[in-house]
Amino acid sequence: MKKFGASLYEFVVGDDWRIAVAVVLALAITVGIARTAIPAWWVLPAAVVLILPVSLAIAVRRR
């Protein structure tokens, strides 16, 4: 069961958990903004522009 959980985590979350957290947060923010009159389409692209360089910078610094 523990092994299965670890495999599932590795499969879904992968090498950097921050990416998964950022995507979930960005989706939640999009849901929130979409309920108002403000356009919400830009949230996910903005999250991609932010999280990818951050994740790469952390990976490079760790080496």
Binding site: V23, L27, T30, L52, S55
Partner: protein, 247 residues
């Protein structure tokens, strides 16, 4: 999204995973026992077919927005992880995926492992290693087939793309009887990462209730935009790596 883009994304993803699975099967097949290795491959393919057959119709029953929210989110996470790895490899910050080295490692492990027969399986080690290799690489393929297919109500087309890629990889692999080292795996991963990220962003946004400017045409902007960002980051990291090596 057009059927063509779906076909290309699934086909390329399946080529990458197929090459990785083939290396494992070839290593145990050539050093241990082809029959047991083939039975392992067959069992894993049956398990994957059951997963796709069970989950495929279930996914298409979900409300489209809920499906797109969950699937878009997962595809976006997957895509960003693939892109991250591909950028790190392309910029020299992570070792390139070397099928030759993996083949040598698997071969050496297979040679030193002890053999044991179980039921109709003459070499349990060869069976288990083949089964696990194909199942684990195949799960990612099954996930991509299901998510892309369910979102576009085209699971059939996605399955055909996956099958075409696997038949191609297996045919070439068994013809040359060696790992497919010439397949530009990192480049393929880069392209698939871009497509998964762009489609994940689009579907995730739609599922969350956002309205894209230009509707479906927004994808035509998202794919090149993600490509430009990824290439920019790769060149920035490559330049940094180059200047560190020179200093």
């Amino acid at each position: 999204m057009t059927g063509g883009a779906l076909f290309i994304a699934v086909f390329l993803a399946c080529v990458v995973e197929g090459v990785e699975a083939l290396t494992i099967v070839l290593a145990v097949g050539t050093t241990r026992d082809w029959r047991s290795a083939s039975l392992g491959v067959g069992s894993a393919l049956i398990a994957l077919a059951v997963i796709v057959a069970a989950l495929g119709p279930a996914l298409t029953l979900l409300p489209l927005n809920a499906l797109r929210l969950v699937v878009g989110g997962l595809l976006l996470i997957f895509g960003l992880q693939w892109l991250r790895k591909a950028i790190l490899r392309a910029s020299g910050h992570k070792a390139l995926h070397d099928e030759d080295a993996i083949f040598r490692r698997q071969t050496s492990a297979a040679e030193s492992a002890t053999g044991q027969a179980r039921g109709m399986i003459t070499d349990w080690y060869a069976y288990v290693v083949s089964f696990k290799g194909v199942l684990l690489e195949g799960l990612e393929v099954a996930f991509i087939v299901l998510t892309f297919g369910a979102n576009q109500h085209a699971i059939g087309l996605a399955t055909i793309a996956a099958a075409a890629a696997i038949v191609l990889v297996v045919a070439i692999g068994f013809a040359v009887r060696a790992p497919l080292t010439r397949v530009p795996e990192n480049t393929l991963k880069f392209v698939v990462g871009i497509m998964l990220t762009a489609f994940g962003t689009f579907w995730g946004g739609e599922g969350a209730g956002a309205h894209w400017p230009g509707e479906d045409a927004a994808l035509l902007a998202l794919v090149p935009a993600v490509a430009v960002i990824a290439l920019g980051l790769m060149f920035a990291l490559r330049t940094k790596q180059f200047s560190v090596e020179r200093s």
